[in-house]
Amino acid sequence: MAEYTLRIRRYDPQSGGAPRWDTHTVDLSPVQSVLDAILKIKDDADGSIGIRCSCQQAICGSCGVRMNGKPGLACNTHLREAAARGHGTGWNPPEEGQDSPVITVEPMGNMPVIRDLIVDMDAVHWKKIQRVTPWLINKQPVPEREYIVPHENMVDVTQPMACIQCGACVSDCLSMEVDPEFVGPAALAKAYRFVGDPRDAQHRERLNDLAADRHGLYDCTHCFSCIDACPKGVAPMSQIMRLRRIAGSDFDIKDRNNGYNHEHAFVKNIRKNGILHEPDLLADSYGGKFNPAAGKELVSGLPTALKGLARGKMTPRTALGHPHKAPAEVKKLFDAIDEKPKRYELNLYVSGYEDEPEASASEAAASTSKSEEQS
């Protein structure tokens, strides 16, 4: 057993009062869950704390909250794990002088609070899920017997299918923070669940629909927050990248946000220069120097460009000329790979890891195992 202090955010919008923090101390095993602690506090000290929960087995998706800044299911987050997290993304040693580890529990973000730890999933999460036609549209004619789907395809879509609709990814989406209209990670992962399913008849229509939405396919900044937030390994951002790849490369779908133009301009730019030549990328992302849309954007960006010139960030020579040239070998790679009739991809979710990567991104992280005794 160990002592944990829970700081719980209390708020009742209907009361007209401001939010407040309540602090309770519990004595529980480090491998009991944050939900166990909250339910114990409700039983022993204050039954009025609002939290939504049901299965307590990480399958109903009801008890999404933020614990020390990180979203997750209260029912499958051990107290010691939550306590070890710092605000932000990672690990933080307990501060000196703390009697017991503190776990700050807040409602999820990007959704209005109904009461205490309960957010309005209908207003945001479910609305966005409904936005992407979340059901299979059969190819016609429907076969008399079952559809035969290649094993790889099925395993691929089981990743987005693992979603339990808890809203943790929506809570942490950094694009949605500034653009609440963004379709968002959960709904886009759901969209890929059907675009990646060979039984679905409307891949192109689904992608066209998302490409026509200013807040659709190209509002994601690649911030990876949803990947870290998801308690089920859905990796919504990876699904968004798949949607973009299929829309841009397989269907040649032009979108309203210049996402297609930007992607193709970027590839062309690196093929030519080897490393990025920013002035060209800017113009080409808007459809090329002579495109009226590009003209407008370039004019609006002129003060920024002039400041950059004035400060010596670029010179007229580097802005207009092309100081770097791609080595011929690099150009060849672009041509050879881009011209293959079929894209060759590795999906680690399907293939798995051959064995533990040693010394990959972090030689050190891979060579040490996490301490089991960290309560």
Binding site: W91, V178, T221, E278, S285, P303, G308, K313, A364, T368
Partner: protein, 300 residues
Amino acid sequence: MKVAYWPGCVSRGFTPELHGSMAKVAPLLDIELIELDRAACCGAGVIAEHNQELADTLNARTFALAQRTDGELMMNICSTCQGAQSECQERLDANSEYREHVNGNLTDEGLRYERGLTNKNFLWLLVENIGLDALKAKVKRPLTDLRVGPFYGCYIIRPAERLGVDEEHPRDRYLHQVIDAIGGTVIDYAGVYKCCGFPIITMNKEASLKQAGRHLGDAIDAEADCLVVPCPLCHLNLDLQQPAAAKVAGRELGMPVLHLPQLVGLALGLSPKELGMNKHIIKPTKVIDWSASVVAAAPA
């Protein structure tokens, strides 16, 4: 130590002061840089979005070039490169058949990537290979009273598992630790782990600049003197685009943003000019009240 050095694109494009300051700081930290000048762009996630095999091949080529040098490891100075390259490397290291296929693309050039390269951002190398104590010992001009807000950028901290962020290696605290080691004061503010918005600047400018403007405003509200970034793309949105972000945010900003090698260079005794700070849109020397800091002794 000798490292195969990948400077990335933007440090040789719109943020030349980053490339320059790294070159000045490296010898002071006994780092010998072997620049990979024939390597190509990491793809910044965009090429992978277009064609995964192409992005993985370009990065496998870079890794192979790095392995041909006698550097102990590969070092980058751009979080975006770190993130994009780590993602490609994860695939290459996880599956030998795929690796062989990608290596097949490189045979014409006589290159081959062997699994298990170590590729570290300067920030990681600074803390893990040079060490905070060794860094401290080299400080000539502690950044006393300089209030620095860390801005990590996404690609160097998420996803935590792929990037090796854990209790043993709290890479999401390293900027905090470096600021502290060179005598500065760490300012915690809401934007520390947020996204600068740069990747969507051409796709949804308003949302992009709103992100930059909000984090800069939060740092101002927390009374930071400046921010420090390990990613030149963050620098583009936070510094180059700052006047535009101020318009979107509807408030005055004026927050200097330093590249990591610049901040370290200041502490190691280099002058703001040597570190290229005159190239910033928000000139640190004009904005920071150096008089309260030992940095005041430095010529502007």
